[in-house]
């Protein structure tokens, strides 16, 4: 069956679980568990399997929204994630030590998928960063990977931010989409 999917990815704590809850509300399901030693310094829980949420259109169709676990062990879910994809939302945590490395890592993991679909990048937690990188820095890193994509500062808790990011994702597939 041909599922329509949007995949959220990004490093531990970037806000994938939060963003999917923000976007899908009650139709979001997390698999968070108490964080292991490594991640606990950053937050209490981490996603061990997948985040999953749905968006239901009036016409009865369903969009499936997946979030990868942040601990970089999602090869086994590759098939589920990349079939029937609409596009990839990459969330990057501005407070991490090297967000540009995170960007390169995740874009490389998903290169084939992004080439087939679309990419939108959200920079989270800029408000908490001591000296956040500029959006030009992120755009430069994307350009060196031969990509141009929307890059917005977002707060994963803000519905408008996440919604605009996903709208930008869709419009890249077809700017002629009419709402």
């Amino acid at each position: 069956m041909h599922h329509h999917k949007i995949v959220f990815t990004g490093p531990v704590g970037a806000g994938k679980t939060t963003a999917i809850r923000t976007l899908c509300g009650a139709n979001a399901l997390g698999t968070d568990a108490a964080a292991s030693d490594m991640t606990r310094t950053r937050k209490e829980t981490t996603t061990v399997a997948l985040d999953y949420g749905t968006l239901h259109l009036n016409s009865g169709e369903t969009i499936h929204v997946y979030g990868t676990p942040g601990q970089e062990r999602f090869d086994f879910m590759w098939e589920i994630l990349t079939q029937g994809g609409i596009g990839l939302v990459l969330l990057l945590d501005a407070t991490r030590p090297a967000p540009l490395n995170d960007l390169r890592f995740f874009v490389n993991v998903f290169t084939a998928y992004v080439e087939r679909t679309a990419l939108a990048v959200g920079i989270t937690r800029s408000d908490l960063a001591q000296s956040p990188l500029s959006l030009d820095d992120y755009a430069g890193a994307l350009r060196s990977l031969d990509l141009v994509a929307p890059i917005f500062e977002v707060d994963a808790r803000e519905r408008r931010d996440i919604s605009l990011l996903v709208q930008a994702l869709l419009l890249q597939l077809d700017p002629g989409l009419a709402a």
Binding site: A129, V148, R160, L164, L165, L171, Q172, D174, P175, A178
Partner: protein, 375 residues
């Protein structure tokens, strides 16, 4: 802004119909009252009358700081006036009165923006947090006409209409901000931008702008052509600190990118800056940060189209089936942030982007997201 404040407006040499409309509006809205020219906070002149230039000059000499609204069939390039196009639109009049109100010294109260204080000179995450909130608050604060004007589409071959559509950022605060930002980033210094009875400061490296003015006050300034005598100068860290100390306690810190984005939209109101030739192919080098600040109509679609493939502004409007002023507003603001690539057309018109096979479904999803993001 306090909508209760009533502006005293003198309508000079306007025709009987406009005067009747103004009288009715002043009574109904309570936002302004009509008064004698000597008592007025602001003056409204009919710019199409032969004697209007003389009246304007006399008024400028006798009341130098007094805002002048010029009602005319074309945009005015006179210094220090707010243009109102004929026929007079109620929304445009109220927007102009808001700009005037924010400009009046006795009404100039700081808005609810961040009270970052003098420590704003030293970056604080708390302040950044506040700033993110203030940036979001801007999203709903301004109507589409404040960002895109209300001009109708024109024929790109109509030279007269085309000329009326252009504006020169150098005559406005916008031009000064762009130069000062460039210089502070290159030279790693700060800048001080002089304004009528106020100033803006750019911090070292030009990533933030410090001001005591609220968003509405800044909008009022953005609309007003500035005197050539008011310029900007580079300053060092000590001078920056001293200048910030003189500004008072309610300093708001804006990210420079957000401020230029807003000022560019407010200044242009759907016109095209001189730097973008109407027949230039405009591409997007990087998307603007569209979650922060005002989102002009159809900005996401225009961004998606131009980042996919360069188009002339007119062709982009045609391709998306949207008013030209939306495209002009968007590309003008992107130009101010240096986000565009501009090339000249000899090439064949851009091919239409492919339609996605799931266009129907994606359009429905887009519609749902748009509705949901409103609250």
């Amino acid at each position: 802004m306090n909508p209760g404040l009533c502006i005293k407006l003198a309508a000079v040499e306007v025709d009987a119909r406009t005067l009747a409309a103004l009288t009715l509006l002043s009574q109904r809205s309570g936002r302004f009252s009509l008064t004698d020219i000597n008592q007025a906070d602001a003056v409204l002149l009919d710019g199409d009358r032969p004697e209007s230039i003389g009246l304007y000059e006399r008024q400028r000499c006798s009341h130098p700081g007094q805002p002048i609204l010029l009602l005319s069939s074309h945009e005015s390039c006179l210094r220090g006036v707010v243009s109102l196009l004929k026929p007079l639109q109620i929304e445009a009049l109220f927007a102009a009165l808001n700009a005037v109100r924010d400009h009046l010294p006795r009404h100039a109260a700081p808005g609810k923006d961040t009270a970052a204080g003098k420590e704003a000179v030293h970056g604080e995450t708390a302040e950044r947090h506040e700033r993110a909130g203030a940036a979001r608050a801007l999203a709903d604060q301004f109507a589409p006409e404040d960002l895109c004007g209300s001009s109708a589409d024109i024929d790109p071959h109509d030279a007269g209409a085309l000329a009326a559509l252009r504006f020169d950022p150098e005559h406005f605060l916008l031009g000064r901000l762009i130069h000062a930002r460039h210089h502070t980033a290159q030279q790693h210094c700060g800048a001080r931008i002089e304004l009528p009875s106020n100033l803006l400061l750019l911090d070292i490296g030009g990533t933030r702008c410090l001001t005591t003015l609220s968003a509405r006050q800044l909008r009022g300034l953005a609309l007003m052509p500035l005197d050539d005598g008011l310029g900007w100068q580079a300053i060092d860290a000590l001078q920056l600190k001293a200048a910030a100390d003189t500004l008072g306690t309610t300093l708001h810190a804006w990210s420079i990118e957000l401020l230029i984005w807003q000022i560019a939209l407010w200044t242009a109101r759907g016109r095209l800056p001189l730097g973008i030739a109407p027949d230039a192919l405009v591409g997007l080098r990087r998307w603007p940060n569209l979650t922060h600040g005002s989102l002009p109509p159809e900005a996401l679609r225009i961004a998606a189209l131009l980042s996919h493939q360069p188009h002339t502004p007119f062709a982009a409007a045609r391709r998306l089936g949207i008013p030209q002023r939306y495209v002009f507003a968007f590309v003008g603001a992107c130009a101010a942030l240096d986000l565009l690539t501009l090339t000249h057309t000899d090439a064949a018109p851009a091919a239409a982007p492919e339609q996605h096979p799931a266009r129907g479904l994606l359009s429905k999803l887009l519609g749902m997201l748009r509705r949901n993001s409103k609250h």
